[in-house]
């Protein structure tokens, strides 16, 4: 059996003597007699490190690692610079906890301050927090930020990622907030319907940009509709797309949130990722979670602390703006290192490659396979192509080490990122051609 307890038998005896008891069992005297499970813990025998490595590796080997990934739908396979992996594996960052003792944790605090700054730069917003669990929970928390006494209804676009909608729905069930779905039209949010739906009791509207189908929404126009109704405009954005598209701030958003996974995090079967949240200044004190602020020490030296804690659960208990305590600090740290490594140019190049390569694949599907794109609007790096036999197509690709797009109603949702070479896109078309064109 493996153990991480360093105490020897002799030391154990010394400790028991110092405490004044004969056995460790005496220390559990407060536990009612019948509750001890004794030897009945139903777990396997412990293992040596060599055996554990073999056992866990065997499980990993049962998964299929795809050479090429053409699927997104909320999790994106981007390039991660070697410097990011190397820097973020430094064990000081890995093994610390929330920086409650600021004087010996300036490194973590400063890295979060830098992350907050970079999220503000990316989204164009004024203020950001230190992260929440993921993009979906960030969307859910944004609804809470917008709720007011007479504004109690939340609206969300039907073109948002379904998992985000489901998560927001759960949180709304918790807070007894009515959540209303604004319908889709031609792959985008139906702006006319939205305008007719929002009333005086509307707290907010959530728009995803680019949306679930990859389409670029007319965000500025929608922002105006939302503000005309007196509600808050929340945008859920892809952070890579933010490098090139009109920013949430430029579109009039009050809050910008999103899934931070594209910023240097592994796909990791869904987590850990991070949710980022940024807002305009007047909403700053409504942000949930940790926030790092700049201050000075007693000698006037610049330093950083966790701040605006009067919003938080450990101070406010049942009156807190959110219950969040641990966030995804190390993931936020990773995203910060990624953004620093990529820089403005690198991030814009990656975004540009995504757009160009996605359009190349879409174009080849139209030209070479005769497929139609389901929606005609502008898109970023995802698109829905109509497909007569999605199962066969995806199976053929899988056999060739390619994870094809995600089957959705009326076709397949494809995603191309900067990591996929042109040759692989051409090979994809060739494989599909063999399936669909006899």
């Amino acid at each position: 059996m493996g153990t991480y307890v360093p105490t020897t038998t002799a030391e154990r005896k010394q400790m028991l003597d110092a405490i004044g008891v004969k056995s460790i069992g005496e220390l559990y005297a407060g536990v009612p007699e019948g509750l001890h499970i004794g030897n009945n813990l139903d777990l396997p025998e412990g293992l040596s490190e060599l055996e554990v490595r073999a056992a866990v590796t065997a499980a990993a080997d049962k998964n299929k690692v795809f050479r090429t990934i053409l699927r997104g739908a909320g999790a994106y396979n981007h390039f991660i610079p070697a410097a990011v992996r190397s820097i973020t594996s430094r064990e000081e960052f890995v093994t610390a906890y929330t920086p409650y003792q600021a004087e010996i944790n300036q490194g973590i605090l400063q890295s979060i301050f830098e992350f907050q700054t970079m999220i503000c730069m990316l989204t164009g917003m004024d203020t950001a927090n230190a992260s929440v669990y993921d993009g979906a929970s960030a969307a859910a928390e944004s609804v809470t930020m917008c709720r007011e006494r007479k504004r109690v209804k939340a609206y969300i676009s039907a073109c948002a990622n379904p998992q985000v909608i489901q998560t927001v729905k759960t949180y709304c069930f918790g807070s007894d907030t009515e959540l209303i779905l604004v319908p889709e039209k031609d792959g985008k949010t139906d702006a006319v319907a939205l305008a007719s739906m929002l009333g005086e009791d509307a707290a907010c509207f959530y728009l995803q940009q680019p949306n679930y189908y990859g389409q670029m929404e007319d965000a500025s126009e929608i922002g105006e509709i939302v503000h005309a109704a007196g509600a808050k405009f929340v945008m859920g954005v892809n952070p890579i797309a933010c490098a090139v598209m009109k920013t949430p701030f430029e579109c009039g958003a009050d809050i910008a949130v999103g899934e931070g996974q594209p910023l240097g995090l592994n796909l990791a079967y869904g987590g850990p990722y991070l949710g980022f949240m940024a807002c305009v200044k007047p909403m700053m004190r409504r942000l949930p979670g940790r926030i790092v602020g700049q201050t000075a020490d007693v000698c006037g030296a610049r330093g950083y602390v966790l701040t605006l804690t009067a919003r938080e659960q450990h101070i406010r208990r049942e009156k807190a703006s959110s219950n969040i305590c641990s966030n995804q600090a190390h993931c936020a740290f990773t995203a910060g290192v990624y953004m620093a490594a990529m820089g403005e140019a690198g991030l814009k190049e990656a975004a540009g490659l995504c757009i160009s390569k996605a359009h190349y694949l879409a174009g080849q599907m139209e030209k070479e396979l005769g497929w139609k794109l389901k929606y005609g609007g502008e898109f970023f790096h995802e698109f829905v192509a109509e497909c007569p036999c999605p199962d066969e197509v995806l199976q053929a690709l899988e056999g060739n080490g390619i994870l094809g797009g995600l089957p959705v109603e009326g076709g397949i949702l494809w995603c191309v990122t900067e990591v996929v070479p042109k040759a692989e896109l051409d090979r994809t078309i060739d494989i599909i051609r063999e399936v669909v064109l006899p």
Partner: protein
């Protein structure tokens, strides 16, 4: 220290992206706001973060007895296993047939956590302890709604509870009833009997509680709540004292959350990612978030619980954290899990015995995995507060205990040494505590000024909150 934005020069960059080999396409509408991300060489980038890392105190830098946070050693093999491409490179929406290993990990971890907690099912969607609390509260809400029991709107929380408990209950739409603790630190049974009634949805309880005491009336407590028609929620923040020894399910709890980043040795990462799986008894199983991993005829698949509360997060929770925790459970096994708990309790009691007689330790005679000290008397006598003692530790390179929690103890320091520290480390720490106590009598001024050897000295927190500067401005 320079911010990363203050390093480098325009024109410096890493060489990361290739030229575009397909016709270039651009968005019609592009951002006009500048994007002033760092311009920096790879060498300087690396140096910046190395410099930052030298101003971080992690477990590997030294003793970290942060009460209620369980800063135990984070085994390296766990990290190795989580970085296997067979886990880290898997897209969360891959077909089930291609993720059999991931689903196996989830199913096995569920089985083992059920064995440890005495629950019938576990979800891994919650990303942290507080997220688990919210999920657990939602299970209770859905269960009561399903029975048509809409009058049960109140959650009872002892005053010693973590702040997340009442906050989570409110997020799930409940009203919170706070009840006092009695002199020995346990739940006041009279107060509990008065609080329960036809409006009781449930009780949230941490046991051992935040004072480090196992509530000896636990069976009576859960009976009172059940007889009133409510459910019992176990906050697993302190399970590390009793894992493998007693099970929350046997104590009478219906729903539990665990902190894999506490009890199961996964790293805290500077404040996350954690993982807060939630377990429940069979009657609540159908309300769990989904889809969840399940096994059928030797194949693993994802199924949606029949009356699921829905999702609390995208995809499958903080999956890699689950891989680390599973690695830990497999390493320790059926004997190692209780051994870890027992030694956590032994170490805490030993450290407490070294400080007893000098520091005021209001609860006892024994503790579980952590103990609380009150510096109220010292503060009154010398003017040296719990904060001053904590800051004094920083100059000696030790991370202080949790300060001013639980809030029902004045000038509290909550000390949790954990099982992975050696007697030598604990002895050194105890000596330091005793030296600082002496210093408080002889030269309190030194402690008021502490720390003096850290990269920065005491920081102006009031000023930070009053005039928030939450980002770097280039002007």
């Amino acid at each position: 220290m320079k911010l990363i934005f203050e390093r480098g020069t325009e024109g410096q960059h890493l060489s990361l992206m290739p030229a575009c080999e397909v016709p270039e396409v651009k968005l019609r509408q592009t951002r006009e706001q500048p994007l002033p991300l760092p311009h920096i060489s790879e060498n300087e980038l690396t140096r910046h973060y190395t410099e930052l890392s030298m101003q971080v105190h992690g477990i590997n830098n030294g003793f970290y007895p942060l009460g209620s946070c369980t800063m135990k050693y984070n085994p390296k093999i766990n990290e190795d296993m989580a970085s296997l491409p067979g886990f880290s490179a898997i897209h969360p929406l891959q077909p089930e047939s291609t993720v059999q290993g991931c689903l196996e990990v989830l199913c096995r971890a569920e089985k083992y956590l059920c064995a440890i907690t005495g629950m019938d099912a576990v979800t891994f969607q919650p990303a942290a302890g507080a997220h688990g609390e919210f999920t657990g509260m939602m299970l209770i809400k859905a269960y009561l709604r399903d029975r048509g029991d809409t009058a049960r709107t109140k959650i009872i929380v002892p005053d010693s509870a973590h702040g997340t408990n009442p906050a989570s209950a409110v997020m799930a739409g409940f009203t919170v009833i706070n009840i006092r603790s009695c002199a020995d630190g346990g739940v006041d049974l009279e107060a509990l009997r008065e609080a329960v009634g036809p409006d009781t949805a449930g009780l949230m309880l941490t046991n051992p509680n935040t004072l480090g005491i196992f509530d000896r009336n636990i069976l009576e407590i859960t009976r009172i709540v059940h007889e009133a028609g409510g459910l019992c929620y176990y906050d697993g923040a302190n399970l590390n004292a009793v894992a493998g020894i007693v099970r929350p399910g046997d104590m009478g709890f219906d729903v539990v959350h665990l902190n894999l980043h506490k009890t199961f040795s996964t790293p805290h990462g500077g404040g996350g990612p954690g993982s807060g799986p939630v377990g429940c008894k069979a009657p609540l199983r159908c309300f769990l978030p989904g889809p969840a991993a399940a096994e059928k005829n030797g194949k693993y698949l994802l199924v949606m619980p029949e009356k699921s509360i829905g999702r609390v997060k995208s995809f499958n929770g903080n999956f890699l954290v689950v891989v680390k925790a599973l690695t830990y459970i497999l390493t320790l096994g059926r004997k190692g899990i209780p051994e870890a708990s027992e030694n956590a309790v032994l170490h805490a009691n030993y450290m407490m015995s070294r400080l007893k007689g000098t520091y005021d330790i209001p609860y006892g005679p024994f503790c579980m995995h952590e103990f609380v000290m009150s510096l109220e008397e010292l503060h009154r006598r010398t003017g040296v507060s719990a904060l001053d003692i904590a800051k004094g530790m920083l100059d000696s390179g030790m991370h202080p205990p949790t300060m001013y929690f639980p809030s029902i103890v004045h000038e509290a320091l909550l000390v949790e040494p954990t099982e992975t520290e050696s007697k030598e480390t604990i002895d050194d720490a105890a000596e330091l505590f005793l030296r600082l106590f002496n210093l408080a009598q002889t030269n309190p001024g030194l402690l008021h000024d502490a720390p003096v050897s850290t990269p920065v000295r005491r920081l102006d927190e009031v000023g930070a909150a009053r005039n928030p500067v939450l980002r770097y401005e280039n002007d």
